[in-house]
């Protein structure tokens, strides 16, 4: 039971670090952005995990149900907005990648650095 209760944290750790690995080790800029979005999703997952309650349901009040337990609405609010903000900022990142490609004709980090050093 202990393992089931903590499995979400394990998944959070692995997802977070998978995204982080893509960010630091991969050279491709789009791959880095995908890694960033995985990293972000891991955080979303942690927050939503914290919001659940045993025997609870989504925090939409049902007047007919007495003594109903509801999940914590606050983390859900934070994550709900963060998802949309996440896609908007990822689009900004992609836009910058597209511009980099137009300037350097490459989206590989090491090649871009080499070109920068040469000029």
């Amino acid at each position: 039971m202990e393992l089931i209760g903590h499995f979400h944290y394990l998944v959070f750790a692995v997802l977070l670090m998978t995204g982080f690995y893509a960010l630091v080790a991969k050279q491709n800029l789009i791959k880095k952005l995908l890694g960033l979005s995985i990293f972000q999703s891991a955080v979303f997952l942690l927050y939503i995990t914290m919001s659940t309650r045993e025997g609870g349901t989504a925090p939409i009040i049902r007047p007919e149900a007495v003594d109903q337990i509801y999940a914590n609405p606050l983390p859900q609010v934070l994550i709900l907005t963060a998802i949309v903000v996440g896609i908007a900022t990822m689009a900004l990142g992609l836009a910058i990648v597209v511009r980099i490609r137009e300037e350097y004709d490459s989206i590989e980090d090491n090649q871009i650095r080499r070109m920068d050093r040469r000029s």
Binding site: T57, A58, I60, D105
Partner: protein, 93 residues
């Protein structure tokens, strides 16, 4: 009974994911994503009943409506890249 249905759907999701990981062509992956999408709709519908909150079917409805946009986007992606390969060989600015 809902549980049996959800287990069948979950197993199918696993199979679809395996297909998406195996490939071998990109079309197989897109096929797997599409399949995964329909299975998600079914899973969400069944779980909404399992939780006894049918008002959450909105979610499955949203997926049923917009899931195929990504497949069409893939089709358009292929068309665009093919058209570009046909029209000019020179690198585009």
């Amino acid at each position: 009974m809902y549980i049996v249905a959800s287990i069948a759907i979950l197993v199918t999701m696993g199979l679809a994911l395996t297909r998406a990981l195996l490939g071998p062509t990109v079309y197989d992956r897109v096929l797997a994503v599409n399949m995964f999408g329909t299975k998600t709709v079914l899973l969400l519908a069944v779980i909404a009943y399992l939780y006894e909150r049918p008002d959450f079917l909105d979610l499955a409805l949203a997926y049923a409506l917009i899931n195929f946009i990504s497949v069409l986007a893939v089709l358009e992606f292929f068309e665009t890249s093919r058209r570009r390969a046909a029209s000019d060989q020179s690198p585009r600015r």
